[in-house]
Subunit: 190 residues, 6 copies
């Protein structure tokens, strides 16, 4: 059967009706990626909320941090795997493939990160991401100490935690809107 | 034993060293509330991230929306109850007590919202908040239709969902930093 | 909306029709507390069962034991937190506040006891209470040894276990009858 | 390997040192059953608590009630099955076999009650017992109405609920003490 | 009420219509056991699938292996206990009683294997069986090393794992067909 | 880091030492697929068990049945998704892509089948596969009736159930051996 062609089950406004700053974002996405990510489309139902989401996203995923961009994308995919979020697994799985140049690593993060051969630092980060996602009430000083033991500073732990927290937000927005990923992601970097 | 007196297990900078815009936020909090909420202190370890967090928080909890401010606080507490987040249960439980003038309602939201007598709209919102928090991979069109049947528009469902999603973020930041609520919250509006 | 004003969803007899020994209990409660606890009202539907319940309750919570009364109330609240029992969290949360003189400790026990600063003995007791409540089939000699290592005798372990077991009984009676706590508890010792 | 021969991992006093009323209970058990049930032995570490336990047990399992004695034992086994309690499955499984004259029914209750052919009333009672045991925070008026629809009065629902609640207590005492059932139960009524 | 007398809820063909090789199996079962196991009856709806099932079953349970036949049956029962599979608990519980000559051991395996006194090798095998059944995505090299530390070779681990895996298959076939065990099993070796 | 290059954590024999019938299987695989699937390699540690596994696999996945080959592969992937089995998600995800010509469908099955637009028959099959995998003790006649209502015969339900059951076996063998999929699968049919 033909698969869902909506971007969001809650509907989205006509891009032609967006404010100029958002039209500029749309244009820049098309220029750089060839398409506007579905999450932007879905969020454009509430333009100011989209602006806040983009600001937070860009800071967490792109700004300077003790975590590499690949590490942040690995965390994004592992959180989305725990939550079984289709949109984010497709979109950020592609990002792991691109940043690592290793298509198998992308699938390992999405299916079960525990099968991957990782160094101690990355394994500690992903174990923490899983626990903070699935049982946050059990996180305690021992978990922070495990990350410190793997070389993370307090600032690094903050950034890691906010990455985990942010994808727990965006996974839920994707589920709430039945957000559909752009088809371009599927074939990227295979 | 004396209880934890830290604001964040990851440490926080001296408020005297914050940028001027944040100092102004600090001053405004003291003026209006009598204290700076712990979440701002904890987040000030990474100032730009704090700015993004505040922008998102203010839009979700305070901007015009089809959901009343009390409804948003009820959602905040129910999400935090599902996640067993100490900081948010204390701080937002106080907000439910204040906005509703009903201390028992605050405790019902925190302990088990199902015992409260609620109208169909509020009950549908809280059932959805619980499901989107604990089993997002099962949320589907039937859940959205239940909300529509209770009178929510697509924009209302978006706002409700983002409130749920946001507290799934902030609950995790609280757990990650062992964030301690200001003592003032405990006695508020009893 | 006005909150539930029943004591039990299964109905209760007119207190004027109770046997004399129970009338005396009612009178003594009013004298000491100012009200008759809802659990007695709910249980009075079956008077002999109420007598047995009171006998067991009084022995477990009030009789001499290696556990202090505060420790027993802390265990009661942590069990009720694991089970999300509204009645017992309200009533015994108040007792923790009263016996400890520490309102925050009461809320920590109710929301997530792991955030509290506790000595090793109390932490061991509460970890055991959580496990015996949520996964009793996994309790084994290692758990008993952990308690012994924290200074508990076999008799203390028995008393602790029966406290846990008893609130697993009473939490279920509260859920079964939609038992509503007396409003007086909410404001107590804040 | 030889299986555990203790009655309780917390130790028990010498029966010769028990108070006279308990010695009389011991003697009566031997006369009627041929042995003293392990649960009495384990509980004799704390004699007054044993007295309370026996009073409650006798009222719940043996006193007049809208539930038959077989129904009460079926509930006991289903609760113990949900909790995976070895002692109670052995001892009360034997009771179901004896009261029903149907050894297969005893095993169905212990292994998975859903495979049994039951009338609507018994099935409703066991579904309720399972839910009140495993997810008490979700029990609500719809559950009570289902029982009423199957013919139970409010008093019957009370008695059913207290049976469920009581075995949630005794399952935990068995786990806490590694309580070992008397060997006689195993062969009974096969 | 009379208990289910079907062998499979999906129906079974008349044994008189089976192919000759299967008729021979039926005859051999009657000769050796006095009856045809229900699982063969249920599977005979799809004869070639039955042949494959029997070949796999015989190799796993009866062929030479580093695991004794009793150990394989203990594993079968513990897997079936985790899955709450009525048919397999009845049929293989009987096998444990028969091979061990210890009826209590059979019930311990079925109800909660952790109460049994086992040597380190058997305990390690059963802990592994439980984990591979209930949380296979968490099984890793540490689990294999624990088995090696208890004396199992790689071939032994393979055989153990396939026994666990096979009963995860057959438990599901029993649930899918509401497979009813032969009454003869219940009284066997008590 | 370089990813695992083993086929099985339990080791495998040199293919040159295999019996002639297995050598012929190896040769045929290379001829048809270009490689020997890792599962055959891992299973070759125990040759007779491999033969039984192949016989069962071929019957379930390739023999005539009321379920199409694509439907069987969709079931395989959904079971493997519930169990988070890396090997089977990679290998059978590729099969769904190939048989459907729809790469997105393969990812939907692997990540969260509920987002796919499916006809009622396929949706019923996958809901059943999920339940039989994750909560087999709750499967009952209502589940079989739902499948019948979607047009499945008793034979179809048998075949569907055995497909679910079989991947519950093979997922566990993959976890037990840390089975690594052939790299060729990753790029197939993107």
């Amino acid at each position: 059967m033909p698969q869902p062609d909506h971007v969001s089950a809650l509907g989205i406004p006509d891009p032609a009706d967006l404010d100029d700053d958002l039209k500029a974002v749309w244009a820049k996405c098309v220029e750089k990626l060839g398409f506007v990510p579905g999450v932007y489309g879905a969020y454009s139902l509430r333009p100011q909320r989209l602006r806040n989401f983009m600001a937070m996203y860009n800071e967490i995923m792109l700004a300077p941090s003790g975590l590499s961009k690949l590490e942040r994308e690995m965390v994004a995919v592992v959180v989305s795997s725990a939550n079984r979020c289709y949109y984010c697994l497709v979109a950020h799985g592609a990002a792991v493939r691109k940043l690592s140049g290793d298509p198998e690593l992308g699938e390992m993060m999405a299916f079960n990160y525990r099968v991957a051969k990782l160094d101690a630092r990355q394994r500690a980060m992903l174990d923490y991401a899983w626990k903070l996602t699935t049982a946050l009430h059990l996180v305690d000083e021992a978990d922070r100490d495990a990350l410190r033991g793997a070389g993370l500073s307090n600032e690094d732990i903050f950034d890691l935690s906010e990455t985990v927290a942010f994808f727990n937000l965006s996974n839920r927005m994707a589920a709430a809107t039945d957000m559909m990923p752009n088809k371009e992601y599927h074939r990227l970097e295979r």
